[in-house]
Symmetry: C2
Subunit: 343 residues, 2 copies
């Protein structure tokens, strides 16, 4: 992978030192700021640093009380890779294959037949109804606890088809540094994802340092049941809440009840979250990750696009709105020294 060739000893050393794992003295940084070491100097990095300085300057006009320092992050495509298929969709497809021996009828029954025959072109065009059927058999019929166990085990073994690494190794290091910088300045960092809330909770603490109560996501209904006198929450094949597009603003109010001061996304699904964030007074940071780096990751959105992909759409209108509204667009290619923590 070309990204390997971009790795420099200096960056690797800074990351190790910043992680606190070893006690080496921090190498003299070429960069004047110790925060955001995987970011190139430029307007995006500057926007983050300026915003944090403004809202934490005691007595300043944009000071925000620590209890109101809320930042929200989309996950797929903003914190980790979402191409060529969402990790959660890969999980669902592999669950279908694992469950197939108990469901011989699936061989001749779409959408399952398409999954089992490996017809990825057809999978790429699955309708919402197809996905609802697949989620129904792969995400329901078990307790939340059992479901999280399945997700954790899957994440240990699954490998991304292009990068051949665990999905949790394909987290964007620069975004992790943004989370760290915000938290070091009193922010609470929430994930606000169109993906499944319990799916993301299964790894958010370990991978992002984000606890379950700070994961807002889509969910299916659950039913309270006593099994041998012990209560369980059983997952039902029924959508409860869709935390995407307008649902992200609704979900932020429902789960947090405070307006974020900073919000990070990468697609049309994050538009309302950024609008909602920007509608408050004072300094607000709204940021979109633009995937324009086919060598190290992917290119899609206004600069490229994978016509067959159903994910990560970044329509031209979004870029127009971002520019008109003073949102910050991050160029993965220009702004990020490295992409993955494991590069």
């Amino acid at each position: 992978m070309s990204s390997i060739t971009r790795r420099s000893l200096g960056v690797a050393l800074s990351a190790v030192a910043a992680s606190g794992v070893v006690g080496l003295p921090r190498p003299a940084a070429a960069d004047s700021s110790p925060a955001l070491p995987s970011w190139n100097d430029g307007p995006a990095k500057q926007a983050i640093l300026d915003f944090v300085r403004r809202v934490t300057t005691s007595g300043g006009p944009d000071f925000v009380a620590p209890e109101d320092r809320i930042a929200t992050f989309d996950q797929d495509g903003t914190l980790w890779v979402e191409q060529p298929v969402y990790a959660q969709a890969m999980f669902a497809l592999e669950r279908v294959r694992a469950l197939a021996p108990s469901h011989p009828e699936w061989k001749s029954q779409d959408p399952f037949a398409a999954v089992l025959s490996g017809d990825l072109a057809q999978v790429a065009h699955f309708s919402e109804k197809d996905w609802t059927e697949i989620v129904g058999v792969t995400h329901a019929g078990m307790s939340n606890q059992d479901f999280q166990g399945l997700v954790k085990r899957w994440l240990e073994t699954a490998r991304h088809p292009r990068f051949e690494r665990k999905y949790t190794d394909l987290v964007y290091q620069p975004m992790r540094e943004v989370m760290d910088h915000l938290r070091a300045n009193g922010f609470r960092t929430y994930i606000v994802t169109g993906g499944g809330q319990e799916f993301v909770r299964a790894f958010a603490q370990a991978v992002y340092g984000v606890p379950p109560e700070q994961v807002v996501g889509s969910s299916i209904a659950t039913r309270y049941e006593l099994k041998d006198g012990k209560p369980e929450l059983m997952r039902l094949p029924k959508v409860f809440f869709v935390d995407d597009r307008d649902g992200k603003a609704i979900g932020i109010n429902l789960f947090i009840g405070k307006r974020p001061y900073a919000a990070f996304g990468n697609s049309g699904g994050d538009r309302e979250m950024l609008q909602w964030t920007g509608a408050g007074d004072g300094a607000r940071l709204r940021m979109l990750v633009h995937h324009d780096d086919p060598a190290r990751e992917y290119a899609y959105g206004p600069a490229g696009g994978l016509p067959d992909s159903k994910v990560g759409t970044f329509p031209d209108e979004l870029m127009t709105e971002a520019k008109a509204g003073g949102w910050t667009v991050v160029s993965m290619k220009e702004d990020w020294k490295r992409v993955f923590a494991t590069d």
Copy 2:
């Protein structure tokens, strides 16, 4: 009110000193523990103190990491008075009266006609459908922000029919001290209420020190709308989530994603929350406030009961389950030195 006569100078002084408002030296306490000054010594107070000591004893068998120290509190009847009618229901009834001039048809249309004619016997027997209609016109058709403004203004002017005080003055001081003691020991205190989430958020920070993100409640659906380019969340006359009975366990998982170590309730609506709390390993505190004090507050549940009331039911089966399961039942009459912060 008889409760006034129970107030002692000593208790009042301890409360002032504990509040930190004045710098007086703390009077020598008759009580060996500075925590929970409004509690009489007894098994309930001891259960709280023992539980907190166990889960905070570093290296002990029941130690709980600070990030997992979650306590959940029912509101109506557990943190403040719920008799003779929930405050939120009073708010709704008064909103109907305030809106009536614009709705002349209500004079002959139930359930509104019953409200406007002041027929409280009929109101006490309103069906769920009646209340849904009333909530539809009093809680919807405005933004969340405007709704919270209405609630705040109402709380400033409304008075409880018996105590003739603001509802926010009818918070149980002993429970406030439990919240304080838990928070002083690293717990996060959540309200988990069958009442409206946005209704309670309107005052939870000021009254209980509980921020919006720690209020889990029932909710109606909202719609994201741009008004003059500015986004608003408009409240719809449609139930979204009922945070009561099984809904409390579901809501705790949905909003917090961690199992509480302590849970406090007072009625059958809190049963599943306490069961869910107790199903975890280690030390768990489950507590029910028993209203057995008609002189200072009310008596209902197994020891008394207001047959016409639809609220605060504490069925005999709940007392049986509490005793069998090692839950702690708080006798308001025996365990509390005083009831209200303003006594």
